[in-house]
């Protein structure tokens, strides 16, 4: 099945409109970044790399951060896929226990491959907190055993959802190698929020680590906070490779002749965190 989703409708909402939506969780958060204190993305607040992609962008423009990532699969095989990632990462992740991000997917193209059982997958906005380790032995920044919560927008090339719709998923992952390039969701560690979002929608993605109650909590806009618990015994101490970031992760199916494609462009607005994490 081949699915192409393209959206480019400009929906520009005044920031004041979001302020009027303020909900309970939002009241507990402070502005980490509004893209107004510098004409560029500030190096004392943000870093992050991009891997193995074609057209790639992480830049500030008109008081937004713009993230684009295009990845094509190989056109020499009908098996496998090629993935790429781009990170907008906070510089002091140990301090971040809550992260709320205004995001708008401006454009999304997903091309799968009929002959490849692997789909092309778009994750154009992921909000992640890597906070604890399960006690797996490891030295230095070895991430093996680290656990992170993630709230993410997701669409696959095989999706039967309406055009432009993205699922909102809350997931808890365990890192399976030192760089966390391999990870799996823990048992019962995935829940899909009831309301999808659409290309062009301006949304707030909220992720909170509730250490006391051994759970992550995710929320969309002013919707209810959705808890996702993990066994308390998994938290044996701080993660060895902590991160608190906004990421794009696109994977394109390989396909003989015409490769699979995932191309996404996302606009990031105001970012809020717990007050302790704010960098003046």
């Amino acid at each position: 099945m081949r699915v192409i989703v393209v959206g480019s409708a400009l929906v520009i909402l005044a920031l004041s409109a979001l302020a009027a939506e303020a909900g309970r969780a939002m009241d507990d958060l402070a502005v980490y970044e509004d893209w107004r204190t510098s004409p560029q993305i500030r190096g004392d607040r943000w870093h992050g790399a991009a891997t193995a992609a074609q057209d790639t962008r992480k830049e500030q423009h008109e008081h937004r951060a713009h993230l684009r990532l295009r990845r094509e699969g190989s056109n020499t095989s009908n098996a496998g896929f090629v993935g790429a990632a781009l990170a907008l990462a906070t510089t002091q992740p140990l301090e971040v226990t809550a992260l709320e991000v205004e995001a708008r997917v401006k454009n999304l193209e997903i091309v799968g491959c009929p002959a490849n059982p692997i789909t092309s997958n778009a994750l154009p906005a992921q909000v992640s907190l890597n906070k604890f380790n399960d006690g797996t032995p490891g030295a230095g920044s070895d991430a093996t055993g680290d656990h992170f919560g993630r709230l993410q927008l997701f669409r696959t090339s095989a999706s039967t959802d309406p055009p432009g719709a993205l699922q909102v998923q809350l997931v808890i992952f365990r890192c399976d190698n030192s760089s966390c390039s391999a990870a799996h969701s823990i048992p019962n560690g995935l829940v899909t929020l009831p309301t999808p979002v659409y290309v062009g929608d301006k949304v707030r993605l909220r992720l909170i680590w509730d250490e006391t109650n051994a759970r992550f909590v995710g929320g969309l806009n002013n919707g209810p906070d959705v808890p996702l618990a993990y066994p308390a015994t998994l938290n044996q101490g701080p993660s060895r490779s902590p991160f608190a970031n906004i990421q794009v992760l696109n994977s394109a199916a390989n396909c003989l002749g015409q490769a699979g494609v995932v191309d996404s462009a996302v606009e990031i607005g105001v970012v809020r965190t717990n007050p302790l994490a704010v960098i003046p």
Partner: protein, 282 residues
């Protein structure tokens, strides 16, 4: 010494382009063939290009207006007045083991380089650079992914924060580096060529980098000027490199500084890219 250069080059593409009639065919080891003109798609073709960008605040490589538009911005660390941070924004040709010749049309639009008075190491922006990594004399068996022993040939448009040149001026350098560590952060310089002419912002240039393997040298040239050799000892070419590379990139070396925010920033456009015929992806 702190030097800040913030200059926006004039959009002189059209005027300069009229004067560029093509690669210097007569001087090449073999005729150049068109690898990319950015007209076949409004994005980077995955069968011709990939990318890799190190961690930094801002970056871009994307097709815009039939050019590859590139941007690198990095800021230095603030914990010390010693040391530097090296970062790259790479557009990688997909068939590096087939590339023996690389020519790119390039134009630098803007640069910003801020060094640190208390750090003896300057900040350096390489606004556009061509790289070929084809052979190695490193240990056998080689460590996968390690550049130890590899030889990186590079032709680069450079500006350092301690430059005495007027604002808005870059210099063109040919370099052959021998990699001493896995990431090729530590190197020795095997051969060097410094071109005499200053390159201005907004000036469209052709950069040529050629591997002349039979004569144990790389050749570099600016526009249709004479090819300049970067020789190496024959035993250096002991085996193919572990990490073959053929790329167009930007690099930034940012001086660490406790007192100010050091910066390297460059925006550039890449026009047509030519290679030897065998490397062309139809």
């Amino acid at each position: 010494m702190n030097t800040t250069t913030r200059t926006t080059g004039l959009l002189a593409l059209a005027l300069c382009g009229l004067a560029l009639i093509g690669p210097s065919w007569a001087q090449a080891v073999e005729p150049f063939a068109l690898y990319e003109d950015w007209h076949g798609a409004d994005y980077m073709r995955g069968d011709r290009w990939s990318g890799a960008i190190d961690s930094m605040p801002e970056f871009r490589h994307a097709v815009h207006g039939h050019k590859l538009s590139m941007h690198l911005r990095s800021e230095g660390a603030t914990a010390a007045n010693a040391g530097t941070l090296l970062q790259h924004n790479r557009a990688l040709l997909s068939t590096p083991t087939l590339v023996t010749q690389l020519l790119a049309e390039a134009e630098v639009h803007r640069i910003e380089v801020i060094g640190c008075a208390a750090n003896p190491a300057p900040s350096i922006i390489r606004a556009v650079a061509l790289t070929l990594n084809r052979f190695s004399d490193g240990p056998v068996p080689a460590t996968p992914g390690s550049l130890v022993g590899d030889y990186l040939a590079r032709l680069q448009l450079v500006r350092a924060s301690n430059s005495a040149d007027p604002d808005g001026v870059l210099r063109l350098q040919g370099r052959l580096f021998h990699c001493l560590d896995a990431g090729c952060i530590a190197t020795t310089t095997v051969a060097a060529v410094d071109f005499p002419d200053a390159i201005a912002l907004g000036q469209r240039v052709q950069l040529q980098l050629i591997w002349d393997a039979p004569n144990n040298q790389f050749l570099v040239a600016l526009d249709n000027g004479a090819l300049q050799p970067l020789p190496y000892p024959a035993p250096a070419n002991a085996r193919p490199s572990v990490v073959p590379l053929a790329d167009v990139r930007q690099s930034g070396v940012t001086a660490n500084c406790t007192t100010i925010a050091t910066v390297v920033d460059a925006e550039a456009e890449i026009g047509r890219v030519f290679t030897n015929a065998a490397a062309v992806v139809p």
